[in-house]
Symmetry: C2
Subunit: 253 residues, 2 copies
């Protein structure tokens, strides 16, 4: 497929790595793509790390990466807000998310002067954050979420992700959040960097975010599934191809 | 109306007091009802205080009250769980809620042995609570909420209430909570104590909880509204009468 597609968008968790280790064949597959002249960008809805931290994690797994190769939902959110001319932002989320927002030139505030409320996830989030968020939403601040994931996997089982925090704020405020991460177009626009859509392909393991997002962005979509089989999915979540992993995808050239 | 109804169920916030003061005429109205031989019970969806603490607050406002006169959503929840033979309960909520659960003879646990997860509200709730909750719900624990209120009023504006915490857990677990507080029948059963329904009346200021609950319980319903006017409500939320306050309700005997 590297003969057809020059721009590869790879989901991280479940495609490049799982837990704290790279997936078998993933580092070699990325190396092959780059050797063949393809451009590789890594997409993650995880709003916690900065792009630099996400790249450093790939380096630890033997995959050379720089911040510019990473498309995190936090960075895409900062980029989107800046593009709209917003200046003052309150953040419910991680230090990494706050760093990306500040790096985009936005002022971090935690008072009523906030023009937008950005919601991510972090294990430090507490009731005081929800209370600030509800107050800002009632005052009319823009409501932006890095992603809408319900849970993320941990060794102890599924843990609540950004979508859960957003759900609490939505219920208490009656407001709907704009979601920037996959499957939203903003995330794919940031990843495509103007590349022609017919030359781009998204590889992911989650139909609702990876495949739906690729469909909406008008690019090809490959689903990674452990058994290599496509479950019965509705049309908007159906991939162009199903593979067991990145290595299988490149075997045909 | 005290000639017709012998069992009075009074909502607290907005009917008996607002903020940190009794409403004009409320202490006198409660005294009149009791002098005429009516039984008065106070209902609140606030899951934070114990019944004893809720009674002490009324005493401070000049309204004699004992724990047995108070029907809090936390106490009704404890009573309901015990009635079902449950023994081990995890609580996300206040110390007051925990005290009511323990006083009902249930064991408070915070590990996978919990048969039920009880959700209330408290400013100490944090991400670790949501994480524990999601784990228990994925393991199949019963999902019980003291109430579903979205916000409660504070001098700084609306603050997220129990319903917001429940919404986060619902989104992350895909499970629906059983709600015990108003308008659920469990709350009214606890308040009626077996009294004949035709002799009971509920007085409240919130159609969605107070009036809807009274309708479902098959008892008369009075709405307290500042302007004494009934807004355009659907049939299931329509009160039998609208008054400006408790005093007006007793003027006719």
């Amino acid at each position: 497929m590297s003969r057809v597609f020059r721009h590869w968008l790879l989901d991280l968790d479940g495609v490049v790595y799982v837990g704290d280790a790279p997936l078998p064949g993933a580092p070699e597959a990325v190396e092959t793509l780059r050797r063949r002249g393809c451009r590789v960008r890594f997409l993650t809805n995880d709003p916690l790390p900065t792009r630099a931290a996400a790249a450093a994690r790939l380096e630890r797994y033997g995959i050379p990466a720089e911040a510019k190769d990473m498309v995190t939902s936090g960075w895409a959110t900062a980029r989107t807000l800046r593009g709209r001319g917003l200046e003052r932002v309150a953040v419910i989320g991680s230090d990494g998310l706050r760093e990306e927002i500040a790096a985009a030139g936005l002022a971090l505030v935690s008072d009523d002067s906030a023009e937008a409320l950005v919601v991510g996830c972090d294990d430090g989030i507490g009731y005081a954050d929800l209370r600030l968020g509800v107050r800002l939403l009632h005052r009319g601040a823009a409501f932006v979420a890095t992603n809408a994931d319900a849970v993320f996997p941990t060794p102890e089982g599924p843990a609540p992700a950004t979508g859960a925090i957003v759900a609490a704020l939505r219920y208490a405020s009656g407001r709907e959040a704009e979601v920037i991460g996959k499957p939203s177009p903003a995330m794919f626009e940031a990843a495509l960097e103007g590349a022609p859509r017919e030359a781009a392909v998204m590889v992911g393991d989650t139909p609702a975010t990876d495949i739906a997002g690729a469909r909406r962005a008008g690019i090809a979509a490959v689903l990674v599934a452990a058994d290599g089989a496509s479950p019965g999915l509705p049309p908007e979540l159906r991939p162009d191809r199903v593979v067991r992993g990145l290595a299988e995808l490149l075997a045909d050239g």
